[in-house]
Amino acid sequence: MTAAHTARQWHGYAFVGPFLLVYAAILVAPLLLGIWISLHRADLFGRREWIGLGNYAEALADPVLHQSIVNTLVLTLLIVPPLTLIALLLALALNRATRLAAVLRGVFFSSLVLSVTIVTLIWRFILTPDAGLIAEALEAAGRAPIPFLSDPDLVIPAIAVTTLWWSLGFPIMLFLAGLQQVPGDIYEAAALDRASRWTTFRRITLPSIRRTLLLVVMLQTAAQLQIFGQAQLLTGGGPGGASRTMVLYIFEVSFGRWELGYATAIAELLFGMILVVTLLQYWLVTRREEER
């Protein structure tokens, strides 16, 4: 092998090197450092004392953490299935070349450009019993206002509805993209066979967009397990911790109590949860595909 040849081989790094450097320094390094920190009693200011799995033992016995895990799972379950279903139905309805459909697509996409701060700002004043939009409507109908954000039973559904409103656009886009890949002549054949709409949907459309469906569910699950801004800004986790999510708890433990080690351990647990759940979803769907 000549020197010139070797040089040419390595020059690929001129192209991939810059990204790899950033990736190593700002993603890989903190990922590994995080595991290391989680094994310490550590504060925000760099003091560290090795305690092995002490933080994880604390997590097992921490009722506040347990409630935040339950809250997070309930929120995820309240958000992901309806979001997926509504987005799919909207995509099916809006997947046509009419002017009305184009306008409505724009309307349903629109909330996705808003930041969580603005979404919660708007929804706080919709939900507040003190002259909020819903309270005004109830008042006009002669009903008492409902304190959505201070009732421990209503706060989680209220955050779920806010999130649904905010998150619809992206899944609709993905489904529309998926639907456009289904070849039109399959539908023609189905129509010739006088297949009903439901049969057409179940036998043709659904199998064709299986991958998109999986992608939407996996992305949304991973996103909602990390739900944070809505809870922090709308309720601060209240009332009485009824809407404290895992990431909100991580935020409180690290930046409120300065217990970086414990907060990092919780973050690692959340990381594990996300990996397990999304891999399980992937495995369930692809296993069925292999069975066919």
Binding site: H11, G12, A14, F15, V16, P18, F19, Y23, I26, L27, A29, P30, L31, L33, G34, G46, L90, A93, N95, R96, A97, T98, L100, G106, V107, F109, V113, L114, S115, V116, T117, L121, I122, W123, F125, I126, A131, L133, E136, M173, L176, Q180, G184, Y187, E188, A190, A191, L192, T200, L225, Q226, G229, V247, F251, F255, T264, A267, L270, F271, I274
Partner: protein, 278 residues
């Protein structure tokens, strides 16, 4: 194509449901818009006042008259533009490298980059905060921009795009005596402009709306982005005393991103069709 569902007209029932849905989507935004044109005093007295005149521009005037909102807007623009340019440059270079060049450990490195897709922000954000503190990067533009540049998605996306370009083009250019870099810069890169637009818009959107990282990295109000600034404003106000002003800030903060979105909407949707499905 006559049987494809996309050409069937909507039934009246479905149309009705869609219009109700559209109303639910739009009503909160229109209400916000109305509130932003009402004086704070009028809203204090009666928030139902939003639905009737008089309307005023006083809240928007207040934004420009010495509030920090314009500074936060500038910060958001700098951070989002920086993140977008950074992601486009790094992803294009790396995408070309992984798609076209042979070098030691290429496959291994590509797999390591792809594994990054499975790493949620939560797994890195706290230790990253520690590292940035050590490097003195908090409350600075690089500190706000750098975390956006680690996304594996951009590299994956650009690699796929470069792979789809026929190799005949490379060979023709190299026979003409072009260097690897000229080939990349003059021949292939111009062909990836649709991909650049899509990746750019999504990066800009994500960076503009990012909340967790700027919340903990920017602690002085001079370096707040709009999301964090508005969150702090939201916390500082008593429930309704500055409602009109808050809503005007919300509208003001959404205008730039709406412009970007509307300008690129076609490109976004088209590119999603090509990539998201596989």
């Amino acid at each position: 194509m006559s049987a494809a569902p996309s050409s069937r007209p909507l039934s009246p029932l479905v149309t009705g449901l869609l219009l109700v849905g559209a109303f639910i989507m739009l009503a909160p935004m229109l209400w916000t818009l109305l509130l932003s044109f009402k004086s704070n005093a009028a809203l204090m007295a009666d928030s139902g006042a939003a639905f009737a005149p008089p309307y005023t521009l006083e809240n928007y005037r207040a934004i420009f008259a010495g509030s920090l909102t314009t500074r936060w807007l500038l910060n958001s623009l700098i951070v989002s533009t920086g993140a977008t340019l950074g992601v486009l440059v790094l992803s294009s270079l790396a995408g070309y490298g992984f798609a076209r060049l042979e070098f030691p450990f290429r496959r291994t490195l590509f797999v390591i980059v792809l594994l990054g897709l499975a790493v949620p922000e939560q797994a890195v954000i706290l230790p990253r905060h520690q590292l940035f503190a050590m490097a003195g990067l908090h409350n600075s533009y690089p500190g706000l921009i750098l975390p956006s540049l680690t996304g594996s998605f951009g590299v994956f996306f650009m690699t796929q795009y470069f792979r789809a370009i026929p190799r005949d083009l490379d060979e023709a250019a190299l026979l003409d005596g072009a260097s690897r870099f000229t080939l990349f810069w003059k021949v292939l890169l111009p062909l990836t402009i649709p991909a650049q637009a899509t990746l750019g818009v999504f990066t800009f959107l994500a960076s503009w709306n990012d909340y967790w990282w700027p919340l903990i990295s920017a602690t002085t109000s001079d370096y707040f982005t709009l999301t964090v600034g508005l969150a702090s404003a939201q916390m500082n106000y008593a429930q309704t005393s500055g409602l009109g002003f808050l809503m005007a800030q919300a509208v003001f903060a959404s205008i730039p991103i709406l412009i970007v979105y509307i300008a690129f909407q076609k490109q976004i949707v088209r590119a999603m069709a090509g990539t998201a499905v596989r």
